[in-house]
Amino acid sequence: MVSTPVAIPPTRGVGSSKKSTNRRRGRAAYLFLLPWFLGFFVIVLGPLLASLVLSFTDYRLISEPSFIGIDNYVRMFTADPQFWDALTVTAIYVFVGVPLQLVTAFLLALALDTGMRGLSIYRAVFYLPSLLGGSVAVALLWRQLFGRDGVVNQVLATVGIDGPSWIANPDTALGTLILLLIWQFGSPMIIFLAGLRQIPRELYEAADVDGAGRLTKLFKITLPLLSPIIFFNLVLQVINAFQAFTPAYVVSGGSGGPADSTLFYTLYLYQQGFRYLNMGYASALAWTLVVIIAGLTAVNFLASRRWVFYGDNS
């Protein structure tokens, strides 16, 4: 079952006779929540605010942070070409990769949603890359596949094409990572499949009776009814893709090269924070990332009013 809307669990009415039991249950609730509260304040909220403060400081771990106002942000936007490289690379990765990944996932979900035999096998095979794609092992494999003497070039050689090293070429390196992202279309595909199951068959039968063709059914029934799921996948995959790290790190050996062409935003953040120990600057980069992701998610939500159909508003 797909449950995109996130509702708060219903609160039950509190009768006065039940007051003492309820107070007891309230206290019990805090006990159950104790680990979460600790984690929330110490490991999440505290560091979140601390990194905001640090983003206005010059902090190199060995010395105390010193307050420098918005210098980090000024430097980022006006004097750091690598920041713009990272932003551009990540933007291309997200805005080219995610739509292609979702279209692939949608088409495959449509092709599989026909009550065919062996569905679970196909589903498993298509899902496998999603499960393994973020690992160092697969990133290593990718590095070989698209290397100078890699499998891709071996295959090309059989038809007489002498391929370049796709990984070492600044024009194609990012493309191989986008391909790696598309390769992982399995998890949005499973969400689409679950969504397709929810569409009542009667709608299609009624459309058949009215003589509707395949395309009409796709555009008038499937897409509108699936739009909340498409939206859900879009938000989720954009957020995920923006934070991709391992493939770029392993494929480029941690450098983001060649010529910064695979310098993912998170990789640049890692380099600044943990290689050069510019922790203040890294924090500023991190908060800029938060603002970008929050902004994109907000735009997604606003735009969704125009195309997402929730069934109860018409």
Binding site: V6, P9, F32, P35, V42, L48, P129, V136, E205
Partner: protein, 301 residues
């Protein structure tokens, strides 16, 4: 079920109808075969790289770059032997480290997230809606934004180069999507069960342990499997906290192996990479049902 109006069925004449139907049957069968063929080709293409890596791990070095074929012409276990004793340190160490970290992470998530989910899903307390909203918000926060202060905090604790930064957060329910997953699951369980337990005089703790927990098993399995897979494959967090090679987890070991040997040792690299994927594949095969359900309910990766 929509009933078909009589006019529609009567519209086409009988002869016409029969021919059209035969044509349609033939074309749908053709389409079905076409679809299955295309899907099979695509599926094979999708797993080709993985199968190729598996094959390459048994190939001698010169053969890896000689053909894109799957099966080795000469089989060898050399890659595994050489790779296992990688560079001074054995991959056995890395596997043991990964196993410890992963097992404890699973236990941590199971305990902490279940407790929190029960409170959010079934108990009443002040500002519940607010806390629930904050919990959901933490799912959306990019991990990278808290990593610098977390690093400073954990190094104050003297936790650098220990497994604690990888494990302790799990015992504090910081993987909030699993709380969300279990709350969603709890909502599908009838409340009458809790109420019956309450009438029998069970407090929230009794109810939790003897009524809710056993029913939560599917959600617990999903949580365990995903925690296992993610922790096992995690590269970023160990990369930051573990600096001594004897503490490396498998992904760090693979990366270090690549750094140390360059690309001269692809065979051994593929052998170890294949081994590193083994446990994930194993869990996937055993627990596929729970994985699919988990993705479908919450959009986990």
């Amino acid at each position: 079920m929509a009933t078909i109006p009589e006019t529609v069925t009567r519209r086409a004449s009988a002869a016409d109808h029969g021919a059209a139907r035969r044509r349609r049957v033939r074309s749908t069968r053709f389409l079905r075969i076409l679809r299955i063929t295309l899907l099979t080709i695509l599926a094979l293409g999708m797993i080709y790289p993985l199968l190729w890596m598996l094959g390459a791990s048994f190939k001698p070095a010169d053969e890896i770059f000689a053909s894109p074929g799957l099966l080795p012409e000469t089989w060898t276990l050399d890659n595994y032997v050489k790779g296992w004793n990688g560079f001074g340190l054995s991959f056995g160490t890395f596997f043991a480290n990964s196993a410890i970290v992963t097992a404890l992470a699973v236990v941590g998530n199971l305990i902490a997230c279940t407790l929190a989910a029960y409170a959010f899903g079934r108990l009443e307390f002040r500002f519940k809606a607010m806390w629930f909203a904050l919990m959901l918000l933490t799912i959306m926060i990019p991990h990278h934004v808290v990593i610098v202060p977390q690093y400073v905090l954990f190094s104050e604790f003297g936790w650098i180069n220990t497994f604690l930064p990888l494990i302790v957060p799990k015992f504090l329910a910081t993987d909030a999507f699993f709380i969300f997953l279990m709350v969603q699951f709890l909502r599908s369980l009838p409340r009458e069960l809790d109420e019956a337990a309450e009438l029998d005089g069970a407090g929230p703790f009794r109810t939790f342990f003897s009524v809710i927990l056993p029913l939560l098993t599917p959600a617990l399995t999903t949580t365990a499997v995903f925690t296992f897979i993610w922790t096992w494959s995690d590269f970023f967090t160990p990369l930051i906290y573990l600096t001594d090679p004897s503490r490396y987890t498998v992904p760090l070991g693979l990366n270090a192996f690549l750094d140390a040997n360059g690309e001269s040792a692809w065979g051994s690299l593929f052998a170890m990479a294949t081994l590193s994927l083994g446990p994930v594949l194993g869990f996937f095969i055993v627990a596929q049902k729970y994985l699919v359900r988990g993705i479908a309910t919450t959009g986990l990766k």
